[in-house]
Symmetry: C2
């Protein structure tokens, strides 16, 4: 089979790779229906995270089960499945607490590269969720979004404890930030302030339920959020970028007693204890426990309540994966969907 | 009147000071019934916070109202009152959200020194809570505890979102840590692990509802908490010290998805973004909005449900305030109560 391999910063190749097989009796092998390029992969693509050796790439996927190991009981060959980027047993104490991305037996599904024609999924029972039937193609982008960006935007809102009536600000207008707008809307936020300077992303944010757009950043962005919130800040702020500036923006845009949910993988972020203390702001982040939310998110997609697949503004054949990275790196695309 | 003044590290004097008077129509002046020495004052006493000039000292108090300004409507002369160390209007948006210590018009009551025979209380309506009648002397220590340490321990538990059935660990065995045990117990924690190496404090923690004592610290302390919690950490950890070591202890003793409530005023504490991210731990701290909890805490004291006044293991005349500081500095006393 063929799949994407990162050879060096900026050098993604679509090349022949070994076919995945069942290694453990808890594995499944799926035939990829769709995969995509994640903003977090750009850290590697840009060489900010060092790339030591040719590395299979990608960690988002939906597919059709081809084969399952002897111990797999909840999914079977022929089913359409959505899964998380972290494999989890879904039975350990951390999983039972709803934090499957901290499963005591977690494995990174992306380690073998999901931008490929076939993928081995470890711990299939605890990782994959099958749809009731093989869905129509029109649902594929939104179901694929659930495997990471929609699950991550959802977690941002859950981690920030978004409640009905809240005013929510979203920092970051990438796919995750836009999905965080969807999540805030679904969880009952009354006012959703999307921070974005890009017209196409502003438009999608408004379509997803944003009520206000703030184009300013830094001190001006903070002042603008305060202006929109009676001087005190937003009830909940969803940080969907992961650098020091975006975290500062988030913390300073939150009202005393409010919450920041942070899902941008942090690079160079540090929180000053004294500042956090006197702000009274609550903070929770982490890799989203997508598996926890999948059944609910799949329902919302299939019932037509949400349509997060709209974040894919570029669709390419999997063989053109390199162009997908390039387009996202240059911010020509919000998110690129790849079809084998 | 006379009151305590800090002249230099280690040099607290009980001396003649100007009598407080009504300055603003929202002020009250109270005659102090009891006041005390706070662990947080030791930062100044020890010279870790610089002391620039002779400074009136102390910020905890209960008293009898002597006089109120023209605009004060909820308390009147002759009433016994408990108040917070931060004056608040209790009507601004932050107060309405339950964060009176971030009141838009807050004033630090301790600025004029509460270890004194009389105290001016700004914003009396939003700061003081009167008891239904002047209470019996036996309730005074517990009511005094509510003005800071019990309110702060309560906030630690609220900030950490303690829920019925939880396993809670408390870092710090000072008066606040011990009151945090009381709070965890009242909020329904099933298991309460008190971290303490001092026999008298361990004993009081057990009396307050602790189910386990951990004497180890650092890596050993973390390992011990993990051992007691099925390997994953406590659901909620209440950080009641405020230094880098205690915060590390707290963060590493919390399970993924759990919470740290931090109420120790931080000195040299910084949280690494990446570490916090992958831990999935939620964090909230701050100066406790005591005013929010006072009506409930006063009820719990007067109904005999809680008896946080037991943290006072030393009682002195106010004139011996210097000895109170010395005893707490040398850890001979958990907390010193002072009576004019």
């Amino acid at each position: 089979m063929r799949g994407a391999v990162l050879h060096a910063p900026g050098d993604v190749r679509f090349e022949e790779r070994t076919d995945p097989t069942i290694i453990n009796p808890t594995d499944a092998v799926i035939r990829t229906v769709a995969t995509c390029v994640c903003g977090s992969d750009l850290w590697d693509y840009r060489g900010i995270n060092p790339v030591g050796q040719p590395t299979p790439f990608g960690h988002e996927y939906v597919g059709i089960v081809e084969e399952v190991g002897d111990e797999v009981t909840t999914v079977q060959a022929g089913q359409f499945v959505v899964g998380s980027f972290f494999a989890s047993d879904n039975t350990c104490p951390n999983c039972r607490n709803g934090y499957q991305t901290n499963c005591l037996h977690r494995e990174f599904v992306g380690a073998e590269g999901c931008q490929a024609e076939r993928i081995r999924i470890p711990l299939a029972d605890g990782t994959l969720v099958a749809t009731p039937e093989v869905p129509d193609d029109t649902y594929v982008p939104s179901l694929l979004a659930c495997s990471d960006v929609m699950g991550t935007g959802w977690y941002a809102a859950v981690a920030a404890e978004v409640r009905p009536g809240d005013t929510v600000a979203v920092v970051g207008d990438g796919a995750v930030g836009l999905c965080a707008v969807v999540a805030a809307e679904e969880l009952g936020a009354e006012r959703i302030i999307a921070m974005s300077r890009h017209e196409s992303r502003q438009k999608l944010a408004l379509e997803f339920g944003a009520t206000d757009i703030v184009a300013e950043r830094g001190e001006e962005g903070i002042a603008r959020i305060k202006e929109l919130t009676g001087g005190i800040g937003a009830d909940r702020v969803l940080e969907c970028v992961g650098n020091a500036e975006s975290m500062r923006q988030a913390l300073h845009s939150t009202r005393p007693g409010g919450n920041v949910g942070f899902v941008g993988v942090p690079h160079g972020v540090s929180l000053d204890g004294e500042e956090l203390f006197y702000s009274h702001v609550g903070v929770r982040g982490g890799p989203a426990p997508v598996r926890e939310f999948l059944p609910d998110l799949i329902d919302r997609v299939l019932s037509g309540r949400i349509n997060p697949g709209e974040v894919f503004d570029l669709q390419l054949p999997l063989s053109a994966v390199a162009e997908g990275y390039k387009a996202m790196d240059e911010r020509r695309a919000i998110k690129a969907l790849l079809k084998p």
